[in-house]
């Protein structure tokens, strides 16, 4: 795997508390990497270290194969959770200003900005003052400013907050498009359904420690716990009887639904081991008419809550 950003055993202490404790993670090139964790877990500190705003006490950050240096900052685009623009400045001028600080020439920045403004349908805003814009409108401007210099690494902290569903969707597609063009994206959020939609990999930080890392699919499957949903037509009693003696347990009776004609249609079971799946399916198939048989993958929300609760309890 081609690793774009590598965080190696980072420890950071502030007066009185440890913000990050021996945190390591690897962000593959060209993916959307979810950085998750409860409030105050240390995510922002980690992002600031990657942004070279603060330095770690211990550990190192590797950026595109070399140790992170201040010069790499021009290859990073950071959209902080706390958005801010100069209120009295005009939108266009302000975007130009931020672009120039990221090293773009004025002409280049103007050309790119015009393109983005057209893309977002906000050409008319160029000469408006920021104070005239709504929160969502200002967020759009801020997004453009973040990605304008086409950085290799993009860091978004809660990018969808303050957006209506239509604009959130627009933004989501832009982020995925940037990824497809080769950018690596770090995505920090508390909105777990958006994690499921956009992230390829995740890391969960709790109490300054990395407690869970990996590709999203694997993480979810690993937390699946071998629970399967069976959808069928036929006699439920016959099926339950047939399953007896097999290495599986029936779960959650309430989920069993009954069709109007009196036939049962659904069942949730837990199968003890992976290798037993085939034998269980065989038995089900023999006793009832099997419609679907699929593994129940837990939502990121459930995984988040469970993992944090387990870790905090230790």
């Amino acid at each position: 795997m081609d690793i774009f950003l590598k965080v190696e055993n980072i420890t950071k202490q502030f007066a009185g508390h440890t913000a990050l404790d021996d945190v390591s993670l690897e962000v593959p090139r060209g993916c959307v990497y979810g950085l998750l964790g409860p409030n105050g877990a240390g995510k922002t500190t980690l992002i600031r270290i990657i942004n070279h705003i603060t330095a770690p006490d211990k550990g190192r950050v590797w950026f595109n194969g070399h140790p992170l240096s201040p010069a790499d900052v021009v290859n990073i685009g950071y959209l902080p959770e706390e958005r801010g623009l100069y209120k009295t400045m005009k939108v266009g001028e302000q975007a130009l200003y931020f672009a120039q600080l990221k090293g773009l020439s004025k002409a280049e920045a103007t050309a790119r900005l015009k393109k983005w403004f057209v893309k977002f349908g906000i050409e008319g805003w160029w000469n408006k003052k920021v104070s005239e814009l709504s929160k969502g409108m200002a967020q759009k401007v801020q997004f453009i400013v973040t990605v304008l210099h086409e950085p290799q690494l993009l860091i978004f902290d809660e990018p969808f907050s303050g957006f209506d569903p239509i604009n959130a969707n627009l933004l989501k597609n832009e982020i995925l498009e940037l990824r497809d063009k080769g950018a690596t994206v770090i995505f920090s959020t508390h909105n777990m359904s958006s994690v499921e939609e956009v992230c390829d990999h995740i890391t969960l930080i709790n109490k300054s420690k990395n407690i869970l890392s990996g590709p999203l699919d694997e993480v979810r499957r690993a937390h699946g716990g071998n629970i399967f949903e069976v959808d069928f037509r036929g006699d439920r009693g016959a099926l339950v009887g047939a399953l007896e003696g097999l290495p599986c347990t029936l779960l959650d009776e309430s989920l069993v639904a009954t069709e109007e004609d009196g036939t049962d249609k659904g069942l949730k079971i837990h199968i003890n081991r992976d290798e037993d799946v085939r034998s269980v399916v065989e038995v089900i198939n023999n006793s009832v008419q099997l419609r679907t048989f699929r593994e129940v993958i837990p939502s990121m929300n459930d995984i988040f809550i469970k993992a944090v609760a387990n870790h905090s309890a230790k």
């Binding site: 603060t54 900052v73 950071y78 902080p80 706390e82 958005r83 801010g84 100069y86 200003y97 600080l101």
Partner: protein, 438 residues
């Protein structure tokens, strides 16, 4: 450096284009003149109203001799003090002169219906003294007394010339020196406060707007701070240059109206010859001659204006760094009060020292405080009109070196402060931040 320039350019453009900049550029000179001269004007206005005083002269010696002046009018009355008191006249007061005033000069009483002023009191005693003295002189029966007195009157007028190293004598106008010291000292004090506050407010605005959060991923906090300080310095210098240009234009127009060339010629010849004489149709007294000659000396002007710029910029930079550090530490302006003490105390001290140093521009007080970087920008203004002081360049070097040290210190505080929210730090905590690792 490139980024500092971009930041400074934004600060400059944003501020110079604001309406408030144009308004202050116009209003500041007016306000400044008002602050300095209105109190003087007010004193003149109040003296326009004449105070009426009823005189009860028991000696019969003084009463007739009292004459009205700009402030008071005297009315002699035959009535007794008690009777007048009963009448309750609509006057300022009643002056009672004792019978034996010639031998017992303290037997004079002034009863007033409102509070009296030193001016009125000294005017009255001065008149009474004059009358009694001349009465006493008369008793000596000297012939032609008035003529003798007129003859011995000698109005001495001192022409001050300052010798430079090559032995050349130059006119030195003490009035001008004091006026310039006063004006420039105050200007530095005001500018440092005004523009330093601008820096502080800018930092607070960026922090509360959360612009800082966006900026710090592109630029270092230090660059942000320096850019702001330098950008606002450029605003200040621009404003000052506009005023200088304005003064030159107004001065040129005024000189033209007064018949400039003749005046200059008169001043130059007048300085060499008898100044009191009328020259080329223009008559000038020595003070004016000295003034014009001082003002038209390019070395003098260069010293004053150049010195002002050097010290204004240095003083501003030094204090702006402190203002920036304070701004970075708080969430809103209300919380700055106690943190601003280390800034305001030396500045106010500088003004006090300046006032005193005017009496003795090269005395130990002036010399020491014009070396200390926190007070030198203001205090040095008092010394500059009297020639380039010893240790001038040392003072400049010290000021700018202290600025560099202060910027380093402020940068350390700033870097921590801009990420601190919801805290009301004390000065001690601010100094602790200096030692934090980045």
């Amino acid at each position: 450096m490139g980024k500092i320039k971009i930041i400074a350019a934004r600060e400059f453009n944003e501020r110079v284009r604001k309406k408030s900049f144009i308004i202050t550029t116009i209003l500041m000179p007016i306000a400044f003149v008002a602050i300095m001269f209105v109190p003087a004007l007010m004193m003149n206005i109040s003296s326009d109203e004449k105070k009426e005083i009823i005189v009860v002269d028991q000696s019969g010696l003084v009463g007739g001799g009292l004459h009205d002046d700009g402030q008071v009018t005297f009315t002699t009355s035959d009535k007794s003090f008690d009777a007048l008191k009963e009448e309750n006249n609509e006057v300022f007061g009643i002056l009672v002169i004792g019978e034996d005033v010639a031998t017992n000069p303290s037997n004079v009483q002034l009863f007033t219906y409102e509070s009296s002023t030193i001016n009125i009191e000294s005017a009255i005693t001065e008149q009474i003294r004059g009358i009694i003295e001349s009465e006493k002189l008369k008793e000596y029966n000297i012939e032609d007394l008035d003529r003798i007195l007129d003859e011995i009157k000698t109005p001495v007028s001192l022409q001050v010339k300052q010798l430079n190293e090559s032995g050349e004598a130059k006119d030195s106008s003490a009035i001008l020196n004091i006026a310039l010291a006063y004006v420039f000292g105050f200007l530095i004090y005001m500018f440092v406060f005004l523009y330093g506050n601008m820096v502080m407010q800018g930092v607070i605005e960026e922090k509360s707007n959360k612009v800082m959060e966006v900026m710090v991923s592109s630029v270092k906090p230090f660059q942000l701070m320096m850019g702001k300080i330098l950008g606002i310095a450029a605003v200040a210098i621009t404003q000052f240059m506009i005023w200088v240009a304005f003064i030159i234009v107004v001065g040129a127009v005024a000189l033209n109206l007064l018949g400039g060339e003749e005046l200059m010629a008169a001043a130059q010849t007048g300085a060499a010859m008898d100044p009191a004489m009328a020259m080329g149709g223009v008559s000038l007294d020595k003070d004016t001659v000295a003034l014009i000659n001082t003002v038209s000396d390019p070395g003098y002007l260069l010293r004053i204006f150049g010195g002002f710029l050097i010290y204004f910029v240095g003083g501003y930079l030094l204090y702006a760094a402190m203002f920036a550090a304070v701004g970075s530490a708080v969430d809103n302006e209300k919380d700055t009060n106690n943190l601003q003490l280390p800034i305001t105390i030396p500045l106010i001290l500088a003004i006090f020292v300046m006032m005193n140093a005017m009496q003795e521009p090269n005395g130990p007080l002036a010399v020491w405080f014009s070396m200390i970087p926190f007070t030198s920008p203001v205090v040095m203004m008092v010394r500059l009109p009297y020639g380039l002081p010893d240790g001038f360049w040392w003072s400049v070097v010290l000021l700018y070196a202290t600025f560099l040290g202060m910027v380093w210190l402020a940068g350390k505080i700033y870097r921590v402060g801009v990420f601190m929210y919801g805290k009301k730090p004390t000065l001690g905590e601010l100094l602790k931040w200096v030692r934090y690792k980045s």
